[in-house]
């Protein structure tokens, strides 16, 4: 089909133009295949324990069993064909940024019930601005104060969401 061909050519043209992160190599795909295979295996084992029932009267485990088997089969295909894929992205030094980002989110979750949302929110916003975003100290401090104040006004004062809070 010629329309299809030109569409594909367009996409190819575009992918060249786009500066994508370097691909991660076959082991990225193979490892993800191993993980999804594990998930499938776990689903299969658990669903057998749930009770499969009959085909005319499926039990709670029947559908998950089918899905688990499907995941396992597809994962094996992915593992075998792992070398074909170039759509992964390499983890590099800059992967540290999302990692730190997740750490701040978890810290927010831990601190929220203990000391209310003001301080954890301020810490979160400030660390994202100053260290993850490389903004100046001035922008980071002003940005933090304004953001937390605005959230207090919107979520606590205006919407009345019962968020744990300090004040």
């Amino acid at each position: 089909m010629s329309a299809d061909d030109s569409t594909e050519a367009l996409m190819a043209e575009l992918l060249v133009e786009e500066d994508k992160a370097p691909a991660g190599g076959p082991w990225y795909t193979r490892l993800s295949a191993i993980v999804t295979f594990g998930v499938g295996a776990f689903v299969v084992l658990t669903s057998v324990g749930l009770g499969l029932g009959e085909v005319s009267e499926p039990g709670p485990g029947m559908w998950p069993l089918v899905l688990g088997i499907a995941v396992m089969v597809l994962s094996v295909v992915l593992l075998v064909r792992g070398h074909v894929f170039t759509d992964t992205e390499k983890f590099s030094k800059s992967t540290l940024l999302p990692l730190i980002g997740v750490a701040t989110l978890v810290a927010f979750w831990v601190l929220l019930p203990m000391i209310g949302f003001e301080i954890p929110a301020a810490l979160l916003v400030f660390s994202w601005l100053r260290w993850l975003g490389r903004e100046s100290w001035r922008v980071s401090i002003i940005g933090t104060v304004l953001t937390v104040a605005a959230f207090y006004l919107v979520f606590v004062t205006a919407l009345g969401v019962p968020i744990p809070r300090l004040i």
Binding site: A3, S56, W63, D87, G101, G133
Partner: protein, 500 residues
């Protein structure tokens, strides 16, 4: 055709509060589309908690406004910065950015607004005619038909996305697994809950969507944002000349039709439509070499197409309850949350909702074109806001938003976990869309499958022997086998060419 409900729907939309929600949705959608970082699906996902306080009609009008507003917002960044907001505006980059370099950015934005308006409005008109017909046909559907429709939906979305089909299929099946978490409605037994009380009623769709699309995208951008500086651009003279409009008119017409047709198909939607219409324009053009160098048709056609497709993709969701793409899956999830079950009966039971949504699109498109051209200056200024400043604000909105749904700190943890999953999926080449879509369809699929098996007394052949489900089944086989045959023919053709 009975026009009563349609007119009543128009009255619903014209209620001041709904007009306001439509306006709000379009403006928020455009702004977010322009702002760096979040696409329309992520935006809708993050704003899901807002809908809890609204009545269903207002909620869906708001979300629909955000959806097509964001489509246009993505165009602005494609034209001005060569940064497509999402996949459906990718081709606009070729000629749109070329026009910007020639100092014709204003004209490109103006013609996109006009093309979007015509594509969108044309699609709504067709939709008002086609949707009731599909819904009437689907009234005869029973559980077996819905089982097959849901499978077709999952398979199409998994196989027609942008990335690897195999990975998308795995993501989809895992989405189906996630949908089984919680209490089994047939036996009351809990499944895959690990004795965690909070998930005994299942994983909350809002939390999952906000995590995978919202937090996942924010984390992913964290890695990228430092490398992409944005430069300010000045835009003048937004109104296209009469000559521009004349040159673009054919492209807009063709783009609208292609967009409408492809938008109805599950999986492809706006992205495929914009690509196909661009390819068509290149083919019908007298001088194809102008494309990529600022041809106005190269902007007008995909913009008309992606807006028409964005509109017509509502048809399968509203008439069959089967979403055509990830954004529609989020929309369907939102409807289910507020107690509306889209499907063929919706037009009977909830006519004001159905026609309210359809008619809000007329209004939304009008608002879009009224606002788009005068607000271009504002959007250019918004473009200068740095992604690094927006990221902490969006992430905080997400965390507090997800908390506000059930006042539960557990949901915050869940949204973070889903975010990490979304981030890893993006890094490893797994599309998050199929997972969310399958999650939404998962419950429908399992319920109807089990009802059908009871109905057939365990005889699986029943799916094939019932006339309607049998036809749908044949369609399903075609959907799965068709692309494989095409690929095989193409491969064998190219190998004979090489040998010859």
């Amino acid at each position: 055709m009975d026009f009563g409900p349609m007119l009543q729907g128009m009255a619903t939309v014209l209620e001041p509060q709904n007009l306001l929600y439509c306006l709000l949705g379009v403006v928020v959608g455009m702004l977010v589309g322009v702002l760096p970082g979040l696409g329309p699906t992520a935006t809708i996902a993050i704003l899901l908690p807002v809908i809890y306080g609204l009545d269903p009609v207002s909620a869906i009008i708001l979300l629909a406004g955000i959806y097509y507003g964001a489509q246009y917002g993505g165009t602005i960044t494609s034209v001005l910065l060569r940064l497509p907001g999402e996949a459906s505006t990718v081709v606009t980059v070729f000629d749109g950015f070329a026009m910007t370099r020639q100092g014709r950015a204003g004209t490109a934005l103006g013609i996109s607004a006009i093309a979007s308006f015509i594509g969108g409005t044309g699609a709504v008109i067709l939709m008002s005619i086609v949707a009731p017909i599909i819904a009437r046909f689907a009234l005869d559907f029973g559980p077996p038909e819905y089982t097959i429709l849901a499978i077709i939906g999952v398979v199409l979305v998994a196989t027609m996305g942008n990335g690897s089909r195999l990975k998308a299929l795995i993501a989809a099946v895992i989405g189906l697994v996630l949908a089984t978490v919680g209490r089994d409605i047939f036996t009351g037994q809990t499944r895959f809950t690990f004795d965690i009380l909070e998930v005994s009623d299942g994983i909350d769709f809002v939390v999952l969507a906000m995590g995978i699309f919202g937090v996942g995208e924010i984390l992913y951008n964290l890695e990228e944002s430092l490398t992409k500086p944005r430069s300010p651009i000045s835009v003048s003279n937004v109104w296209p000349s009469r000559k521009d409009v004349r040159e673009a008119s054919g492209a807009i017409g063709r783009g609208s039709v292609i967009g409408f047709l492809l938008g109805i198909l599950p999986g492809g939607g706006a992205t495929l439509a914009s690509l196909a219409s661009y390819a068509t324009e290149k083919k019908v053009a007298k001088d194809p070499s102008r494309f990529g160098r600022g041809a106005i048709q190269g902007v007008a056609a995909p913009e008309a197409a992606n807006n028409a497709a964005a509109t017509s993709s509502f048809i399968p969701m509203l008439t069959l309850g089967i979403p055509a793409n990830a954004a529609m899956a989020v929309m369907l999830g939102a409807l289910l949350i507020i107690g509306v079950k889209p499907g063929p009966t919706m037009m009977e039971t909830n006519p004001e909702l159905f026609w309210g949504v359809v008619n809000s699109m007329y209004i939304g498109n009008i608002l879009l074109i009224i606002l788009a051209i005068p607000l271009v200056g504002l959007f250019v200024r918004v473009l200068r806001i740095r992604a690094t400043i927006l990221a902490p604000i969006t992430v905080l909105i997400t965390l507090l938003g997800v908390y506000s749904v059930a006042n539960s700190t557990f949901d915050i943890l869940l949204v973070i976990i889903a975010g990490v999953l979304g981030y890893l999926m993006k890094k490893l080449g797994f599309e998050p869309g199929p997972l969310i879509l399958a999650f939404v369809l998962g419950k429908i699929l399992e319920d109807t499958l089990r009802q059908s098996l009871r109905l057939f007394d365990g005889n699986v052949a029943g799916f094939v022997t019932r006339p309607i489900s049998g036809t749908l089944f044949a369609l399903l086989v075609l959907v799965i086998v068709g692309p494989l045959i095409f690929a095989w023919i193409r491969r064998s053709l190219s190998s004979t060419k090489k040998e010859g």
